[in-house]
């Protein structure tokens, strides 16, 4: 079998198939193909500021209820899903307004980029985009405390048509860039950002940098839409083919930050061993940090309660003691009774 190594696109085998030349894990974006949506399962959500939508993608907004977000089955060839933002109410941007989709990358996953040193890696962002509005759109890449950032822009030429974009940025030699379990690098895909947080493209500077100066405001147009998929951030100067992971692999990567069994048949079933006791549930995936956890009765789905299966009595919990590997529910239960509950646990950035 012969192979042709192409430094631009990867490795071409003699059957014509193209394989990425970079090792597994080249894409620092998790859920870049928008296939995982644990919270909403494809339903529409109107997020609050910093509220998560599809897994690993959260919303930034200075005014509430101006746009909705949904996982949709609409994508360019080679993809299945995309994330879609729809304008619910138009906004004439004030200087400090911002509306965007954000993706925060954990420091461990970008530590090798060596940002903040004399020898940072060059990075390339690539993605597919489709919008009902044409024009030059913007975005930004920042550090965790938004003290450093670099704006970028890209042009959508044809309305309602998937277009492929890529942007290459040299690494930042200064600033503080988290290299552990905090936010290492923060990508903003702007929907509309005012002048205060919009900066010139082409160089790193003081943040916040949420978008590029002069970028199109999607929220100026009633019912406008924009979709993204195939988002990839990698080292180097070239956008290589998107790294498709197995669904289960990607779900596990997402579950480092968020996990739930809400509304499924997989509720937790625990037999209380002692009065005023505790029940323990293990996470499928170790979390980035101790997780914020909410438990819900498996019958009424009321937050802060569990269901006593012996008569379907709802019992209020006292607290949840949650770590990175598991959580304990503390409640005034009855020995030998069966308790059932759902949970949602978040260790998001």
């Amino acid at each position: 079998m012969s192979v042709a190594i192409n430094g631009t696109n990867g490795i071409t085998y003699n059957d014509g198939s193209l394989q990425p030349s970079a090792p597994v894990g080249k894409n620092r974006i998790i859920n870049g193909n928008m296939m995982i949506d644990q919270r909403n399962s494809g339903g529409v959500t109107t997020p609050g500021n910093n509220g998560y939508t599809l897994d690993r993608w959260n919303a930034g907004l200075s005014q509430s209820s101006k746009y909705s977000v949904q996982q949709v089955v609409d994508a360019p060839s080679g993809f299945y899903n995309s994330i879609k933002a729809t304008v619910l109410a138009t906004v004439s941007l004030g200087a400090t307004d911002y509306f965007m989709l954000k993706h925060k990358i954990e420091g461990y996953n970008v530590a090798d980029l060596n940002f903040g040193t004399a020898n940072p890696e060059t990075i390339t962002l690539s993605f597919w985009v489709k919008s009902s509005v044409t024009g030059t759109f913007g975005g930004g890449i920042q550090n965790s405390n938004e003290s450093r950032g670099n704006a970028f822009n890209y042009t959508i030429s044809s309305a309602n048509t998937w277009e492929y974009k890529s942007v290459t940025l040299t690494g930042d030699t200064t600033g503080t860039w988290d290299k552990t379990n905090g936010t290492g690098l923060w990508l903003n895909l702007a929907l509309g950002v005012g002048t205060t947080y919009s900066k010139s493209t082409g160089s790193w500077g003081a943040g916040p940098v949420l978008s590029a100066t002069g970028a199109t405001n999607l929220l100026a147009t009633s019912s406008a839409t924009i979709q993204f998929t195939g988002v990839q951030l990698e080292t180097g100067t070239t956008a290589t083919p998107f790294e498709h992971l197995q669904y289960g692999q990607q779900l596990a990567l997402c579950q480092r930050y968020y996990e739930q069994n809400y509304g499924t048949n997989n509720y937790e079933v625990k037999i209380q061993g002692i009065t005023s006791g505790l029940t323990n549930s293990a996470f499928k995936v170790s979390k980035r940090a101790d997780a914020t956890t909410t438990v819900y009765s498996s019958v009424t789905q009321t937050a802060g309660t569990v269901n006593n299966g012996n008569g379907n009595v709802q019992t209020a919990i006292s607290s949840v003691i949650s770590g990175k590997e598991s959580f304990w529910v503390s409640m005034a239960g009855t020995s030998s009774q069966v308790y059932t509950y759902y949970f949602k646990s978040s260790a998001e950035l």
Binding site: N181, G182, R288, A289, D290, A291, T292, T293, T294, A303, G304, S318, S319, V320, I321, S322, G323, S330, K344, S346, A347, E348, L349
Partner: protein, 55 residues
């Protein structure tokens, strides 16, 4: 009021969590947890959580 202190964890004799009243979420006292960071910012503004329930 946005928060209430969780009960004392009898194994550690410390506050078990911070309960966010809007959704009954239990926030661990972990400075890497962004919900706890938000709680600390709220406290830094002079706010105080409700006392824990009696156990």
């Amino acid at each position: 009021m946005k928060y209430k202190l969780g009960i004392i964890d009898t194994f550690t004799n410390k506050t078990s969590c911070i309960i966010r009243l809007s959704d009954s979420a239990c926030i661990p006292l972990d400075e890497d947890n962004t919900d706890y960071q938000e709680y600390l910012e709220w406290v830094a503004k002079g706010n105080k959580a409700m006392e824990a329930d009696e156990t």
